[in-house]
């Protein structure tokens, strides 16, 4: 697992207040437990802070799953 993948998992765990063991490729906004609209904003704040970026609002809306988060972060120069 790359360093950034590890950081992504940690950011998800912290933002969604879930144990790291529960972070997986199947995580989806609104359907996975713990990932509601309030947690979503905490997740974005966590990703911003972890990767030292500012995710655009359009991407905040698009970020609907764990794999999608990886794809979006790539746009900000984060390599996995």
């Amino acid at each position: 697992m790359s360093e950034n993948e590890k950081k992504l998992r940690e950011a998800f765990a912290s933002g969604l207040s879930l144990p790291e063991a529960d972070i997986n490729e199947d995580l989806q906004y609104a359907t996975s437990q713990g990932w509601d609209s309030i947690a979503h904003m905490a997740l974005i704040a966590s990703l911003d802070s972890t990767f030292d970026i500012m995710i655009d609002t359009d991407d905040v809306i698009d970020l609907s799953s764990y794999p999608k988060a990886r794809e979006i972060l790539t746009k900000y120069g984060i390599q996995f």
Binding site: I38, M41, I44, A45, S46, D48, S49, M54
Partner: protein, 248 residues
């Protein structure tokens, strides 16, 4: 009593009037500040005044809050400067008076972009920074006109009424994250914004102020600083009138 010791705050529209008075008062109360306005000229004067009072150096950002690209660039500069934001004061605003039949589409867009859209965008941004620390305070500067309305101020009144709605809705959303959102609604304050009010209208206004005098920018600034500080740690979603009893 120093109520903002060790805090970092961002004040928009800080080059004059209520914004400048708020910046000076916040610095006096111990805050480190990021100051923004359309041009750096007035900001430099505010920053100098702060330095003379508290010795603190403020970060200056030229930003037109009505222009989304300018605002985005400002956000990036704020993030580059600090990873922590304790309070945000949304003060930037414009006044474009016109009677209902004489309001142009351009005027509506300009006022709404500056007075309302910018407030929503800066709250979006600031709340993300504040969420990482699970605390923060946002103070939006509305107006008594957003509560009572006024002839010739349909657009301005609408924009400020909308700020009150945005404040209350954001307060509900952000409370679980430990972030408070409040507004002040100044009455007739002695700033350049009232310079063009015709004398008969001014006399009418004076008669409606129960305390019988204009407010000072410093009097609004003190309320804003109180709301920004932990002295009001259990206050959110409120609109505080600073109007000498105009709205009772």
């Amino acid at each position: 009593m120093i109520i903002l010791e060790g805090t970092i705050g961002w004040i928009t529209g800080a080059s004059r009037g209520i914004g400048r008075a708020t910046a000076v008062e916040a610095a006096r109360q111990g805050a480190s500040l990021i100051l923004s306005a359309r041009t750096v000229e007035g900001l430099e004067e505010t920053a100098l005044e702060i330095e003379q009072i508290s010795g603190a150096r403020s970060r200056i950002i030229a930003c037109d809050v009505g222009d989304q690209n300018s605002l985005k660039a400002a956000f990036k500069e704020v993030i580059g400067h600090t990873k922590k934001l304790d309070f945000l004061v949304n003060n930037a605003g414009i006044l474009r008076d016109a009677i209902l039949g004489m309001i142009s589409g351009t005027q509506i867009e300009e006022v709404m972009r500056t007075n309302l859209f910018s407030v929503i965008h800066t709250m979006q941004f600031a709340s993300r920074l504040m969420m990482t620390h699970k605390s923060g305070s946002i103070v939006n500067v509305a107006s008594i006109i957003g509560r009572t309305g006024n002839e010739g101020q349909v657009v301005y009144g609408a924009s400020k009424a909308a700020v009150l709605g945005a404040t209350k809705s954001a307060a509900r959303e952000l409370a679980p994250h430990g972030i408070r959102v409040n507004a002040v609604a100044p009455g007739v304050i002695d700033t350049s914004m009232i310079a063009n009010i015709p004398t008969p209208k001014m006399q009418d206004l004076m008669r409606s102020i129960k305390m019988g005098r204009l407010g000072k920018p410093e009097e609004v600034a003190k309320v804003i600083c109180m709301l920004a500080s932990s002295y009001t740690s259990y206050v959110t979603g409120q609109v505080v009138g600073v109007d000498g009893g105009m709205w009772l």
